[in-house]
Every structure is written in structure tokens, then in C-alpha cells.
């Protein structure tokens, strides 16, 4: 028995051929770095609650992943981020949805848990609470990457409603294809998303898959 830690940056239809060596290396490097940060904090005796917030903040601040900077866009091109946190020792929890200016939604979720009698705040209420608490906020444009604007434009062009089924929103910006639900309700596959480069400059492999 001792401390233990795990972290993730999303799951989906990520084939080995869908990720360029550069993108793979970048992903593994940051996973290693964030794992080290979490392990160091646990070794120093920090609480599990502090450590999960710390690590998720790092992931939110990394544009490779779909949270915080690099969060994907709604049909209207807006950002609506969501986060939650739970302390197993007390079973206290906090959550936020629909925030578009909060740099670290996970920390706002923790404030909901610790500073309110509630579990979950959303949209205008969550934004107002963020301002009251003085958490760091940025203009919505701070969160929007060129890669995510491009993906949304292609989805809108094709008139497709995407199913939350594959990788694009749950993994680094690898580009690719996805299962889709067409506007008429029929399902289709392999809508091509792989072209150009991710916002972070990593090459996207042709034929890559993402959610």
C-alpha cells in the first residue's frame, strides 16, 4: 500500500498509423512530465485532492488536449468547457459546465465544492461565481486553436452532427476520420478531417482518426 497516480488525455479510435512520430513524441513527453509532477507532489505528502487538481490544471494548460487551451468548439464556434472533482475521503464534489472564460475549470469546480453548498454550477451562474472568486479568466479567443476552428468549419460544411464516438475531442490534435450522424439522421463513417497541421505545429498523419 502506498500512493498511486494515473492520468489520461482522452481515448478513441487512435490507430498507430494515425499519429505522426512527432505528435506521438510530444504526447508522451507531456504525459511523462505531468506524471512526474503528480508523483513528486504525492511523494511530498500532498493530498490526493490537491494532486488531481494540480495534474488536471497542467493538462488544461496544454494545447495538445481537449480541455482548457485547445478545447474544441460548439456548433456556433464558441467554447463551453466542463469539469468536476471529487474527494473520496469526504465524498464532497464540485462541477461546472458551460464556462467559456475560466482558464482552469477544474479549479472552479473545486471552489464550487469548497465554497458553496452546491455540487454543480453551469453557464452564467458558473461564470458569475468565477468572477466572484477572482479566478483567472481570459477572453474566449484564448482557448481557441486554429486546428479546432478548422475542424469545426469542416464539420459545418459537411452538415454533419458528430457522435461522441471517436478520438477528435478526446485526444491530442491528430486529425482523421470519425463516425458521424448526418443531418438526416443516417449514420456515416470516415469523414475526412486529416489535413494541415495541428495548432501546436505537429504534423497530422494522413488518414488519422480523431473524434
Amino acid at each position: 500500500m502506498g500512493w498511486a497516480l494515473a492520468l489520461h488525455g482522452g481515448a478513441g479510435r487512435i490507430s498507430k498509423s494515425s499519429i505522426s512520430p512527432a505528435a506521438r513524441e510530444a504526447s508522451e513527453t507531456v504525459l511523462q512530465e505531468f506524471l512526474d509532477a503528480g508523483c513528486a507532489a504525492l511523494s511530498e505528502g500532498k493530498s490526493a485532492l490537491d494532486v488531481v487538481e494540480l495534474v488536471v490544471r497542467l493538462l488544461e494548460n496544454c494545447p495538445l488536449f481537449n480541455a482548457g487551451v485547445g478545447a474544441v468548439l460548439t456548433q456556433r464556434g464558441t467554447v463551453e468547457m466542463e469539469a468536476s472533482i471529487m474527494d473520496g475521503a469526504t465524498r464532497k464534489s464540485g462541477a461546472v459546465s458551460g464556462v467559456s472564460t475560466v482558464v482552469n475549470p477544474i479549479s472552479l469546480a473545486r471552489l464550487v465544492m469548497e465554497k458553496t453548498p452546491h455540487v454543480y454550477l453551469a453557464f452564467e451562474g458558473a461564470e458569475a461565481f468565477a468572477k466572484d472568486q477572482g479566478v483567472e479568466t481570459r477572453d474566449e479567443s484564448y482557448f481557441i486553436t486554429p486546428g479546432n476552428k478548422e475542424r469545426l468549419a469542416k464539420a459545418l460544411e459537411a452538415g454533419l452532427v458528430l457522435l461522441d464516438h471517436s478520438v477528435s475531442t478526446d485526444g491530442p490534435e491528430h486529425g482523421g476520420s470519425r463516425e458521424v450522424l448526418q443531418a438526416d439522421g443516417h449514420s456515416g463513417r470516415d469523414y475526412p478531417y486529416a489535413n494541415g497541421h495541428a495548432a501546436n505545429g505537429h504534423p497530422i498523419a494522413a488518414g488519422a482518426e480523431f473524434e
Binding site: A4, A11, F34, T74, Q75, M81, S93, G98
Partner: protein, 131 residues
Amino acid sequence: TVGCVAVDINGHCAAATSTGGLVNKMVGRIGDTPLIGAGTYANEFCAVSTTGKGEEIIRCLCAKEVASLMEYKYLPLKEATDTVIWKKLGEGNGGLIAVSSTGEVAMTFNTLGMFRACATEDGHRQIGIWK
């Protein structure tokens, strides 16, 4: 989606999850991430953070299901996570990371890959994308 679960030197567990949701999602859509019990859960037995097809994860109440299997059926962590991911959540729909209060770690997914990393106090470390 991103997430982290941890158990500290006192055996206390915690979980956290954060996301931007889906490309081209409807305005106002809420996924599993902020729903306690679906995308995130922690109690005195374990902590869980999920990722994948949000609507399916909500329907399965994946995170709480893992905790319930441990609490009420006394399953070990790995067996509980395997049961939820492979028997409840449809194939290709996602994955989760979990730790138990006794320091076990599970990173289970039924998609082609999941960006993941874990470490334990006894020196075990793992970083991976694919199975």
C-alpha cells in the same frame, strides 16, 4: 478530455476530469465529465475518471459503477473496471483510469487507444497510447 486519479499516503482517493466536449456539439450540451458518478467519482474505495462517448458513459454511470462493484460485490479494482468497460460500456465507446485506496491502478479502455500514464510508490511506471 483529460483526467487524473490519485490515492495519497493516507489512503485517501480523489478524482478530477475536465473537457471541452465534442467538436460541433450543440450549444448547451453537457457530457459525462461534469456529472458526478458518470465521468468522475471517488469514495473510500477508489477514484475513477472516464473518457470517451459521453452519452454512453452517462447511460452506464461508469465511474460510480466501478465504485459500486468494489463496495457491494467486493471486486478488486481491475475486475471492477474490466466489468464496466467490457461488459457494460459498448465496445469502442471509451475508457477510464482508476486507483484503489490500497494503491492499485487500472487503465482500461475498449477503444483503439487512450493517452495514459500511471505510477505507484513502489516504482511501477507506465506511459502508453495503444493497447
